[in-house]
């Protein structure tokens, strides 16, 4: 079973993830609309607006910090914590080297205390965001099964990752990998795709309005 999880199932999950994400992104990029024939405002451009929107929407702006502080703090706790774990947790670096890029390429690994801080940030952010989803009237109205599944899958992946940290038991490591594979297979079909599409969405609004002189 462990061999299956670490072998064929891993490659299946990786293929579904890569092909699925690529398919969705390519589909979005190739769905065109007619060129904008309006004359851009002097000194303004779509490209500039796109870059500005990508940067600007990374933080609350327009006087909205107070209104969005909860999301801002919890969102960054979760996303930064998770990204640090994925890229710098020692077992992950070794796994990526072993399975994807070879031992010649490497980067610093998180010390144990670093892992704990990143994990605590990611857990705190995810749990606080989810509590808000369950209690806030606006989010309750918006949420569908995909929102809940995405959170639970991510939570389980993070939890099994912590259990496997000591690498004391091959079974725990395999269990973690199994949950990661489930997440990777689910990812292209779900709202988790926002990890990539946020760039497209911001850029398209920025490009549209940037040429008008102000990208909201």
């Amino acid at each position: 079973m462990i061999q299956f999880i670490e072998g064929p199932l891993w490659y299946l999950a990786l293929t579904v993830f890569v092909v699925g994400v690529a398919w969705r992104i390519i589909a979005l990029v190739t769905m065109k609309r007619p060129a904008d024939l309006s004359e851009a405002r002097s000194g303004s451009s779509g490209a500039g607006g796109a870059v500005k929107a990508i940067i600007q929407h990374s933080v609350p702006h327009g006087g909205n910090l107070g209104r969005t502080l909860y999301h801002f703090v919890t969102g960054y706790l979760f996303h930064v914590g998770l990204l640090v774990l994925i890229l710098f947790a020692a077992p992950h670096v070794e796994f990526i080297q072993e399975r994807l890029i070879g031992a010649d390429i490497g980067w610093p690994k998180l010390p144990r205390w670093g892992f704990i801080i990143a994990a605590e940030a990611a857990f705190a952010g995810l749990i606080l965001l989810y509590v808000h989803r369950l209690t806030d009237p606006v989010k309750k109205q918006l949420s569908d099964i995909d929102d809940h599944l995405g959170v639970w899958l991510t939570f389980i992946v993070m939890l099994t990752g912590c259990l496997a940290l000591q690498e004391a038991h091959a079974g725990l490591r395999a269990f973690h990998l199994l949950t990661v594979e489930a997440l990777m297979i689910y990812f292209p079909f779900s709202r988790l795709i926002h990890a990539f599409t946020f760039l497209l969405s911001r850029a398209r609004t920025g490009a549209t309005y940037g040429r008008r002189g102000f990208a909201p």
Partner: protein
């Protein structure tokens, strides 16, 4: 106070669900698809929406307005849509759902784009709503009074019944009554001035003020009975055929007089449509520049062709029409006009590109059934103005002005509403004739 807007009377109009689906399918391009694939249902947009803030009703969350398009996208166009359909994860839209969504798409969205500012994904919900309105109209839905306004514009020339004959009569009356020249149908002119029927019928002083300013600056301008109506209820109602007709009329009139510039009067959406969508609706670049009246007057002031006596009567604040500022990019010119003119000018918080909407944009002003919720929304503007301590509110949009005038009366508010054009015309600094 919680208000349920758009309470629709029992409605027996037949609904063609497939027509709505087909229209959304046709309009669903890369832009909209990117937005639908990026929304994470975080709900932050609710806090930026005046309809949600005024009512605290979660149903007025802007992200919910993406739902009709999302459903069509998921079932028909998204990658894996076939799989989702086969698994029963992408159900068909029903007639009842369309009816339930109608108030969200029409009555409680002014397409002001405040939600885009706060959205971490920068989703332009206003543009998705505009496209969705076209689908609802194709299905036979939409507020009857808004649709009638669009039909009036197509059949009579303007939503308020200003036919070319009525235009001629009103221009003659205004010119005589105010002893001012208002050129109509000149053969050639550098500038074609357009008007909004709201001004022509309800705020005619604004038309006189524009004429006074242009005449004083020595501008070679004209109105044209071939294309005069600046408002575009085709866009607001989702009737794309009417939208195109309205732009065609203005373009034809401008080309007939060889105008280099078309000036849009005090009307936010008229500016947004002609300046940023006009060429796209026509399918060709416009052979003239389009300027809002504040942009054009600011140019004349920069050139020294207009000078104003300081306005010292009272403190004033300025309401930014969303389609001119946030969605139009012309925020600075109104302030340039007020700078050094209004001696006690006070900005609202927030202001400029982040200002709150008046509540009547996007055609909501024309929907009688949305009046109650509009008035509730206006309380946000009232609070903003009162916080400045200014007794008067200046704006550059007749639609905002009408919306605010009606809410002011409904709520018995005591502040004064002023048109920036009228304010400037009343304070022209014209050298005495020797």
């Amino acid at each position: 106070m919680t208000v349920e807007p758009g309470t629709i009377a029992p409605d027996n109009r037949p609904v063609n669900v497939q027509a709505a689906v087909d229209k959304m399918d046709a309009l669903l391009g890369g832009h909209i698809a990117s937005y639908l694939d990026a929304c994470v249902h975080c709900g932050q947009c609710a806090q930026a929406c005046h309809f949600h803030e005024a009512t605290q009703n979660p149903r007025h969350t802007p992200a919910l307005k993406l739902l009709p398009m999302t459903r069509v996208y998921r079932r028909n166009k998204s990658p894996f849509s076939g799989l989702k359909k086969a698994l029963g994860l992408a159900p068909e839209i029903t007639e009842q759902e369309l009816r339930d969504w109608e108030p969200l798409i029409f009555d409680t969205c002014t397409m002001c784009a405040r939600c885009t500012v706060v959205c971490p994904m920068a989703i332009d919900i206003a543009s998705v709503v505009a496209a969705t309105r076209q689908a609802f109209v194709a299905a036979g839905l939409g507020p009857p009074d808004l649709l009638q306004a669009a039909d009036n514009a197509r059949d009579k020339g303007s939503p308020l019944g200003v036919t070319p004959e009525v235009l001629e009569d009103r221009v003659e009356w205004l010119a005589d009554d105010n002893e001012i020249e208002i050129p109509l149908d000149k053969d050639k002119a550098d500038v074609l001035l357009t008007v909004s029927s709201i001004e022509m019928m309800k705020y005619p002083d604004s038309v006189v003020a524009m004429a006074k300013l242009l005449n004083t600056a020595g501008v070679d301008w004209t109105l044209s009975s071939k294309g005069y109506e600046a408002t575009n209820f085709g866009v607001l109602s989702g009737k794309s055929d009417v939208a195109k007709i309205m732009v065609e009329r203005i373009a034809a009139a401008a080309e007939a007089v060889n105008a280099k510039t078309v000036v849009v009067p005090e009307c936010g959406h008229a500016y947004g449509v002609l300046r940023w969508s006009g060429a796209n609706l026509l399918g060709r670049e416009l052979p003239f520049q389009v300027l809002h009246i504040t942009e054009y007057l600011a140019d004349l002031k920069r050139q020294g062709r207009l000078k104003f006596k300081p306005y010292t009567e009272q403190a004033v604040t300025y309401h930014d029409p969303c389609q001119i500022s946030r969605r139009g990019g012309a925020t600075a010119d109104a302030r340039y006009l007020l700078d050094g003119f209004a001696s006690d000018f006070r900005e609202m918080t927030p202001t400029g590109n982040f200002n709150w909407c008046c509540g009547g944009g996007g055609g909501v002003q024309a929907m009688a059934r949305a009046a109650d919720v509009r008035h509730e929304v206006f309380r946000i503007k009232m609070a903003q103005v009162e916080a400045t301590g200014a007794p008067a509110l200046v704006s550059a949009c007749a639609n905002c002005r009408l919306t605010m005038d009606e809410s002011k009366a409904a709520l018995k508010w005591d502040k004064e509403l002023i048109s920036i054009v009228e304010m400037l015309a009343d304070n022209l600094d014209v050298p005495a004739e020797s």
